[in-house]
């Protein structure tokens, strides 16, 4: 068994949830999202983020608009769709349940 493997699996599980929650707070572009995640100690590579965002967009959970910038190419600003908001709520419930269960099993919670 590989610790990195398992750890990676754990991270993969929550990545979507985290990203959606960041975007929920407000329109964000990928660079921004990465910075915020880094601030919260959850490092993610751009190469991981972009495909994820694209997938979410293709699933109609996210939408974006182009914003011109004078310091470089135009940027995509992502925001949640309605469907995305619903999805997020469900995820949040799931997370809560999961977190509680794990805490209980590991004895953190009595």
């Amino acid at each position: 068994m590989n610790i990195d493997n398992t750890a990676s699996q754990m991270r993969k599980g929550v990545l979507e949830f985290c990203i959606l929650s960041i975007i929920k707070l407000g329109e964000a572009y990928p660079s921004d999202i990465i910075d915020k995640m880094k601030a919260a100690n959850l490092n993610i590579l751009e190469g991981t983020l972009y495909p994820l965002l694209t997938r979410l967009k293709n699933a109609d959970l996210l939408t974006y608009r182009w914003v011109e910038s004078n310091s470089g190419p135009p940027r995509k600003y992502f925001s949640l769709t309605e469907k995305g908001a619903e999805f997020y709520n469900e995820l949040e419930t799931t997370w809560q349940q999961l977190a509680n269960a794990v805490d209980e099993i590991t004895g953190k919670k009595n």
């Binding site: 990195d4 990928p30 190469g47 991981t48 972009y50 495909p51 997938r55 310091s71 470089g72």
Partner: protein, 724 residues
């Protein structure tokens, strides 16, 4: 946005993006993702430039790559692991391990269905990944071997699917879009097996060619039926199937895979450069440098390919390929040779016939058709072949598409012209004239003996012996002579010789044919016991050649002799009639009934023509006679049983005839002499009388006149008389 960047850095960047591309190969929004990442990289570049860098360096690129991350570090759905043990994202790696598949390790390879590479169920792809060969090959084998849908479904059900199979195949079967004529299949196959695509094309075309040959009944070259009938639609189907199944090599890496070269940054770069060069060649003029460059490159690449092929192929495969190569080359060679020979011979013949054009063709449409046929139908393939050969020799790759289409178009036009020409000319020969016999008046119809000979005309001797275009015997600029002249011997109903002439001709309608027939120039006249006739029919360019035919019928009375000279005609072949039997001639005339041998004297008896030895004149007897002559010189020429009349009588009668004629001649000569003598005598007498009278007068004058030395006309007269 223009970013100054160092070349090595650029290479690094390119490599990186390519690896991203590979990694995201199966991702649905791949292009979007790549675009996003590239935009991000661009942004980062801008930042650095703004900060004062003049140019992007390796360090910058590496930093950025670290920032964004390497593909193996990504945590995406289809499994990247941040661990260093993960194999390269390059799907063409030689690794035979698949990515982390399940929670347990396994030793050795398992058969999975390839979920990423599937067309139906990924069965063939899985098998291909297991054996490290091109899934396309597996699919083809599946279809061709007829394993069956049931087996496929069973495999589909029972073989587990995997998302992470990596196929270590190096050389894949693709359709080659660069060298394609129809679908690029033969080109791709050729590239895979490292043979010339034209061989493959020949192999595909063989059943069709045999089809054609069978149709044409070319002697020993008829292939058996089943080959052409089963293989040609089959081959067609196979071609279509292959077209559907084999993917086309669009991207550079796919093309490299097709050729079996290693797909990495260098080879991609080289082939892209080459393609750019190729584009330049296509756009620019085809110079000699381009040719030699291509040759060099071609030689180099083909060498590399050969090495690659040797490494990947097995010994048996090589043997099979070589055999097929030889076979294919042979077929191709025969094909090409036959085509070229046919083409050039048609060209030569048509050029040779050319002087006769004016005699055969009407002006107007027919001439147009003839020119069109010559130029397009014959000329275009010749020119096309020559250009093809030149192109092959110079190794210039791409054929100009417009040229190809225009060649084909012109050739089709030539075919149309050719068909029109044939139809038009055949129309003029459609009908035959009616058979009318004209009697020729003989000056002396009761000669006992008639020889038929030809009017000696110097022209006739000069015909080309190497070029005989039947039935033209000779031609020059404005007249042509047609040797369609024949003689027939029949029994006369009366006691005297009779001669009939039948003139026949073809035309577009019966009336037309009759008109033309009456225009035929044919002379026949009698000179004592020789019947002189024209040796050939002369036509000029206004009355065209329409298969004119003249038959001279000599009616020989019974007990009279006849001989036909050998110099009568050029060729004993009869050319009369049409191709479809709608003429009366065939019904009316049977050649063998009127047989005679040239140069032989015959006598007409009550029941037919006989030689002087008493043998009836027909082919069989002559054959037997020739046969006897060859093998037995001692036996008498004739069989005693075939005697009808006594031999001495015959000879005697012949000599008698001769003597009679001689006598007659003598008599006539004598009588003429006598007549002449008499006349002479009369003249003499009258002159003598005149002389006496004059002498008397002179005496009178002498007596009367002085003794002048007078002019004595008498002497003169006397001298004159002496000279008479």
């Amino acid at each position: 946005m223009v970013v100054p960047i160092e070349e090595t850095s650029y290479e690094l960047l390119k490599e990186y993006i390519e690896s991203l591309r590979q990694y995201f190969a199966k991702e649905e929004g791949r292009n979007e993702i790549i675009n996003d990442i590239e935009s991000r990289i661009g942004e980062l570049f801008q930042e650095r430039l703004k900060k004062g860098a003049t140019c992007i360096t390796d360090d910058d690129v590496n930093a950025i790559i670290k920032n964004i991350g390497r593909p193996e570090d990504f945590e995406n759905e289809d499994g990247g692991e941040p661990s260093a043990k993960a194999s390269e994202a390059n799907s063409n790696s030689q690794s035979s391990y698949s990515h982390s598949q399940a929670q347990f390790e396994w030793k050795g390879k398992r058969l999975y269905r390839d979920e990423n590479n599937k067309i139906l169920g990924g069965v063939c792809s899985g098998i291909a990944a297991y054996f490290n060969i091109d899934p396309v090959i597996v699919r083809i084998l599946f279809i061709v071997s007829g394993i069956g849908l049931l087996v496929y479904i069973l495999l589909w059900i029972f073989v587990p699917g995997s998302n992470a199979l990596v196929n270590g195949v190096r050389k894949r079967l693709y359709r080659n879009p660069d060298g394609k004529i129809v679908g690029g299949i033969c080109s791709g196959i050729g590239s895979y097996f490292d043979v010339n695509p034209w061989l493959i094309r020949a192999l595909f075309l063989i059943p069709f060619i045999t089809f054609f040959f069978r149709w044409g009944h070319v002697g020993p070259l008829t292939f058996p039926h089943f080959v052409s009938f089963t293989f040609s639609p089959g081959t067609f189907l196979i071609y279509i199937i292959l077209w559907l199944v084999i993917p086309e090599a669009t991207t550079t890496s796919e093309k490299l895979e097709m050729k079996g070269e290693k797909v990495d940054i260098n080879s991609i770069k080289n082939s892209v450069i080459e393609e750019m060069k190729g584009v330049k060649q296509r756009v620019g003029k085809m110079g000699a440098e381009a040719g030699s460059f291509a040759k060099e490159r071609g030689a180099q690449i083909s060498q590399e390919m050969r090495y690659a092929a040797r490494n990947t192929g097995s010994a048996l495969g090589n043997v099979i390929v070589t055999l097929l190569k030889i076979f294919g080359y042979f077929i191709l060679g025969c094909l090409a040779f036959a085509l070229i020979v046919a083409l050039f011979s048609i060209a030569v013949v048509s050029v040779g016939i050319f002087p006769l054009k004016d005699f055969i063709l009407n002006n107007g449409w027919q001439t147009v058709y003839a020119w069109g046929t010559l130029l397009f139908f014959i000329g275009v393939p010749v020119v096309g072949l020559i250009t093809l050969i030149i192109r092959r020799l110079a190794r210039i790759k791409k054929a100009n598409r417009m040229m190809r289409y225009s060649f084909v178009g012109l050739w089709i036009l030539g075919i149309i012209c050719f068909i029109a020409l044939i139809a038009s000319v055949a129309n003029d020969f459609r009908r035959t004239s009616s058979i009318i016999e004209q009697r020729v008046a003989l000056t002396n119809a009761s000669v006992p003996f008639l020889t038929v000979s030809s009017i000696d005309n110097n022209n006739y001797h000069r015909y080309n012996s190497w070029f005989r275009f039947e039935p033209f015997a000779y031609f020059d600029n404005d007249t042509a002579y047609i040797g369609n002249v024949h003689v027939r011997i029949e029994k006369s109903a009366t006691d005297s010789f009779q001669v009939g002439v039948i003139k026949l001709c073809n035309g577009s309608s019966r009336r037309d044919a009759d008109t033309l027939a009456s225009l035929i120039n044919f002379h026949v006249y009698q000179a004592d016991s020789v019947l002189m006739m024209d040796r050939a029919i002369s036509i000029n360019t206004t009355d065209k050649f329409r298969n004119q035919y003249v038959e001279l019928i000599v009616y020989v009375p019974v007990n009279h002799k006849v001989k036909i000279d050998k110099n009568i005609t050029y060729n004993p072949i009869r050319f009369y009639g049409t191709w479809w039997h709608d003429n009366d001639w065939d019904n009316w005339y049977h050649e063998d009934d009127y047989y005679f041998k040239y140069g032989e004297t015959y006598i007409m008896k009550r029941d037919g023509l006989y030689t002087l030895d008493g043998i009836p004149a027909n082919k069989e007897n002559d054959y037997r006679r020739n046969w006897d002559e060859e093998y037995d010189d001692n036996t008498p020429l004739t069989n005693p049983e075939n005697y009808r009349y006594d031999k001495p009588d015959k000879l005697d009668s012949l000599t008698n005839e001769k003597q009679l004629q001689m006598q007659k001649l003598k008599m006539s000569i004598d009588s003429l002499k006598q007549v002449k003598q008499r006349e002479d005598q009369r003249l003499k007498d009258s002159l003598n009388n005149a002389k006496e009278k004059l002498e008397q007068k002179i005496q009178n004058i002498d007596e009367k006149a002085a003794p002048t030395q007078a002019f004595i006309p008498g002497n003169r007269e006397y001298n004159l008389l002496m000279h008479i």
